[in-house]
Symmetry: C2
Subunit: 181 residues, 2 copies
Amino acid sequence: MAIRYALLGLLTKGPHSGYDLHSIFKTQHIYFWNSTHSQVYQELNKMRDEELVTYETIVQEGSPNKKLYTITHKGEKRLIEWMMEEAIKPAKIKDEFLLRVSAFQAISVEEAITLLERILAREKAILAGTSQWQLEYYGEHTHPSYLEIGSYLTSEFGKRYAKMYVEWCEWALELLESYRV
Amino acid sequence: MAIRYALLGLLTKGPHSGYDLHSIFKTQHIYFWNSTHSQVYQELNKMRDEELVTYETIVQEGSPNKKLYTITHKGEKRLIEWMMEEAIKPAKIKDEFLLRVSAFQAISVEEAITLLERILAREKAILAGTSQWQLEYYGEHTHPSYLEIGSYLTSEFGKRYAKMYVEWCEWALELLESYRV
DNA sequence: CCGCCCATGTAATAAGTTACATGATTCC
DNA sequence: GGAATCATGTAACTTATTACATGGGCGG
């Protein structure tokens, strides 16, 4: 039920197609939500039925026609109601890698180190990508317009998350080394 | 399909009941997975059918009887196979609060600050809880036995995650203050 | 006496993923 | 010629959540 608020939130910044919206989840400058294209298209159709969004078909040459979705007044009202709700559910995280880490006692130190090194490389790449993206998008601006405040705050969160992950990996590798032989 | 590996991982540290296993998810010294009791009980039954776990009924007085589950050789083999798989899926995070943050442009600065302050308080409490738990559980030990390595590494991750969250909240509040008036 | 902890389960519903389906364009 | 991008959708399936169900013990 919350996927719709993710979509409505993105639509407050302007009209987007389903493809655009899914791309935002996929290309990850979003660290706090994820989805698949099929879910996005289905939710958009439901929201159109409930009049939370409207769309306009854009005829394109060279690429397929697309539907540009716009949030309605009703949709905006619904979003804000949800944002102001008392209860905020705790984050749900499913991190397969940390799940493997939590069972490291079942494998050898050497195997554990190999796994950690793989993830360290991955997280370093993610950190570099996010920092690069933030720089390109906001430049030296450390004070974006209020319209951008949401994505600015969360992109900084993403950067900090990636940095924390890298530092934790390095710390964990050092600790694991001490169990070797 | 991954919930089973979470359970198998926990069972490598010794026998547990379904209730125990769910409590570990619920009382949060786990920052990388979550589940509900109904899913835990159902998955344990499935794994018993596939002979990945066995159980023994413990008759108790004063409290209801319980089933103590133990991982089988087959279960351990299956877990290790999974741990060593090449592909590691990226983490899936669903954080309702960050979702609200990402739509801050739809509400006023004052309302945004109120929301952030609420979360800052919550995250501070979580950080305090985790640090306290880690201290009680591991004491001054910064080098636990290899059997504990999995939960030690991930509890440290949890602490760092909570710390990062608190620091980000404080940074975000400061930035938001500058948009006031 | 009310609510929480212990302890386990099933049924119904919702949410999310993967596979199936199509098709032009562009880059290597 | 093959893969990736743009663009949308449906069908089948798996996973996850919520509600329903039971019941004794214990503390305030």
